[in-house]
């Protein structure tokens, strides 16, 4: 029996775009959570979730189902579209974060207070604003230096607080590959983190 997502994709491609809704309903919550972690802002994450699905729909004819043997070796997950959708989402998010650099940091010096409320959804009394702002910024800077896969692994590990096994399952990678990617992310994050800490002290 074929994976039901392969059947869904085929059905969409045979002229039933409404079936795509099943895919949207299945992935929307996790992608929204993921992108919110990545961007630190729910409203922008919602926009990017929408863009992710539109891009996925456009790209659907070119999507190739993973080979069954290869897949069963790596994961028991039935969500075989997941790695592809996360890649699209990560790519869009990284572009968004890089654009933020240009728009916010080079065009005009930001009013920190205002900027903070735009970049995060964090209530003021939870943690000190300055610290939050700094953490988001270091994360953003670090992410901009990483590949899509490394960035995705770093977010899922450090911000979403998932285990290595969970990330491996979600992105259809081996745990070893996830560890390598996370460690690259950590090194990059630590570079920006220590720089910022030195500046702020």
């Amino acid at each position: 029996m074929a994976n039901d997502e392969i059947v869904l994709v085929r059905t969409v491609l045979q002229g039933h775009p409404e079936v795509f809704q099943t895919i949207v309903v299945r992935y929307e919550p996790q992608l929204l959570r993921y992108l919110t972690h990545m961007l630190g802002n729910r409203e922008n994450a919602r926009d990017l979730v929408q863009e992710t699905f539109l891009a996925a729909y456009q790209g659907l004819p070119h999507w190739k189902a993973p080979q069954t043997a290869e897949m069963s070796k790596r994961t028991k997950s039935s969500q075989i579209l997941a790695p592809w959708l996360y890649r699209i989402a990560t790519n869009l998010a990284l572009n968004w974060l890089k654009k933020q650099t240009r728009d916010v940091y080079f065009s005009q010096p930001p009013d920190k207070q205002k900027n903070l409320s735009m970049l995060t959804d964090i209530p003021a009394d939870e943690i000190e604003l300055e610290k939050q702002y700094m953490l988001r910024e270091t994360l953003r800077e670090a992410l901009c230096t990483l590949s899509e896969e490394d960035a995705a692994c770093l977010i899922l590990r450090f911000v979403a607080d998932e285990t290595y096994a969970e990330i491996a399952e979600r992105l259809h990678m081996t745990s070893e590959a996830v560890r390598k990617r996370v460690s690259r992310g950590i090194i990059s994050l630590r570079t920006t983190y220590t720089q910022r800490m030195e500046v702020s002290q």
């Binding site: 491609l13 795509f20 809704q21 309903v25 929204l32 919110t36 953490l135 450090f158």
Partner: protein, 366 residues
């Protein structure tokens, strides 16, 4: 500062070891390593001050960023955001109308837009999918006709039963109220009937049971003089199951007798004591050798989604089906999880979740 270069500069002699250890440090922090790996990391940390420092930094950063995540997480809903899903689908469907050539295959048939997107999915649609799935994977020849019929059904929007054939006088008579049977949580519905020279085929859907399947016995009223009728040889071809429903084909060996009723005795697996009966077709004339019956069953016989709403992580749906007598409507209460699986639930359970009465919902529908 670049830490990989720092390692090569200061500790070139064990750079290889550090390189091997660095990917393990974070997993070591959360105790996700095998025993032997853990031991390696532990002894390495005792001797390598750079890795020790990195490990401390990882601990510090993880605490800091988990706080960021917890705060952000509070505002993120776990359930699908109905508004967002609707926006996405509206964009895709409008894009689709302007951009037919996007798809590598021409659409088989134009499907008329659903009346309302929220209520647009029907059980029938999933059945078509199930058939399509089986057709694709096991290439059962007989399925192709079924898929086309199921696909074309919505487009035609037929009401009542249509009999197609080249002959002017109908060969078979259909009892449209004999296509659907429901017993508590169990449903049995005929989707499509076809005859050929040797067989009568019923495509049907029935509630899936892990332990055993729905038994069906076909009898003819006139093949012998016995009052109970004569059991006709039959077998069930399984097409597969989708969510909580099995989709199968019942093949019945046909014996032509003018005036005979084909009667189905349906026994659900956990209700051996009681069986339900349907008498869907009656033979009026002898068929031509290639058969004359190709019938879609009135969609009204198949449960229709009247109302649905997302509550928590589930979608609850109220479905209407006709009962065997065709008089009063019967209702089916379903719960759908995020993976798309259906479960039947009791009326009480349903109303409790949706906080309103059945009447309120039916009025709300209008």
């Amino acid at each position: 500062m670049n830490h990989s270069s720092e390692y090569t500069d200061n500790h070139s002699h064990d750079a290889g070891v550090c390189e091997e250890m660095i990917p393990l440090l974070d997993a070591y922090r959360t105790d996700e390593l095998e025993e032997n790996e853990k031991e390696k990391v532990r002894s390495h940390l005792e001797t390598c001050s750079l890795c020790q420092k990195l490990f401390e930094d990882i601990q510090e950063m993880s605490v800091a960023y988990t706080k960021v995540s917890l705060v952000a997480d509070k505002n993120v809903a776990e359930k699908p955001d109905a508004q967002l899903v609707e926006n996405i689908m509206a964009k895709i469907l409008s894009q689709q109308e302007h951009n037919q050539e996007l798809l590598p295959f021409a659409p088989i048939k134009h499907v008329s837009p659903p009346r309302s997107r929220e209520r647009s999915y029907r059980l029938r649609y999933y059945l078509a999918l199930a058939c399509a799935a089986v057709f694709i994977t096991s290439a059962i020849f007989v399925c192709s006709g079924i898929v086309q019929y199921l696909n074309s059904y919505q487009a035609r929007g037929t009401s009542g039963v249509s009999v197609t054939g080249t002959v002017s006088r109908p060969r078979w008579e259909l009892a449209s109220n004999q296509m659907f049977l429901r017993e508590d949580q169990d449903v049995f519905g005929i989707e499509y009937i076809e005859t050929n020279a040797h067989e009568i085929l019923f495509v049907y859907v029935t509630t899936h049971h892990a332990q055993g399947s729905t038994q069906i016995q076909a009898t003819s009223s006139l093949v012998s003089n016995s009052s109970n009728g004569t059991v006709l040889p039959s077998y069930i071809q399984k097409l597969g199951h989708l969510g909580n429903y099995d989709v199968n084909i019942l093949h019945i060996r046909r014996f032509d007798r003018v005036g005979q009723f084909i009667r189905l005795k349906i026994t659900f697996p956990d209700k051996d004591a009681s069986s339900g009966y349907l008498q869907p077709i009656k033979q009026l004339l002898i068929d031509s050798p290639e058969g004359s019956l190709n019938v879609d069953i009135n969609q009204k016989m198949i449960p229709e989604v009247l109302w649905s709403r997302v509550v928590g992580t589930f979608t609850y749906a109220l479905l209407q089906g006709s009962n065997a007598q065709g008089s009063n409507a019967t209702y089916i209460f379903l719960r759908q999880d995020l993976a798309g699986n259906f479960y039947t639930i009791t009326k009480e359970e349903y109303l409790k979740t949706c906080h309103c009465t059945l009447d309120q919902q039916l009025q709300g529908k209008k």
